[in-house]
Amino acid sequence: MTDNRRQILDMLASGKLTAEEAERLIAALERNGAGATALSESDRTKYLRVLVDTKDPLDGPTKVNVRVPMQLLRAGVRLTGVIPASAREEVNAALRKQGITFDINNVTPQNLEELIEQLRELTVDVDNENTKVRVFCE
């Protein structure tokens, strides 16, 4: 049994994870291969990068390069834990009103880690005549 699997089972046993969350994490481990090990600190996604490159015919080119630590996203999500239940329901209702079926109660640190790991593979490129925008994680 790998250390990761044992850690998940320990967290399940101590009640830190629900059975559903544990199952999802184990499935994620299996997806990464039989010999999957935890991502080391150096392998983890550390930054969200936003690169903007515009070419204004009058002002000339402008380049913007922003690096935001993923830790900020993690801290922000943890902060959602202090939102009162009534406010959460209001947020969910407002999202539903906009046609977004998203439950803010499902945003947990465990889910966030999964999401961030998936973001490693994601690159958004917007390219038009005068502007190029690239968003990626590193």
Binding site: K63, P69, Q71, V82, A85
Partner: protein, 92 residues
Amino acid sequence: MKAEILPPLTATVHVKPRGWKSGFKLWLPLFLVWLLALPLFILALPFLFVAALVFGVRFWASIRGALAVLHAFHGTSVEVEKADTRVFINLH
């Protein structure tokens, strides 16, 4: 104070104005800002506590969360380059 809740203590700003051959670098002691803000924060604590009670927010968890968000700004950098001008800000 645990290291995970320390906000960025310094910032470096590199500026290269238009027409200059090379730029200059500023080192900003952000910790002075936090030191100045600390008395105000302490004065505001009772009001924040009452507000947390009224709105049903967990007070200490909110404080810890807010400090964690400030701490997470470590490593943030912004660089803007336009024509011959360049500004680069990095939080440490």
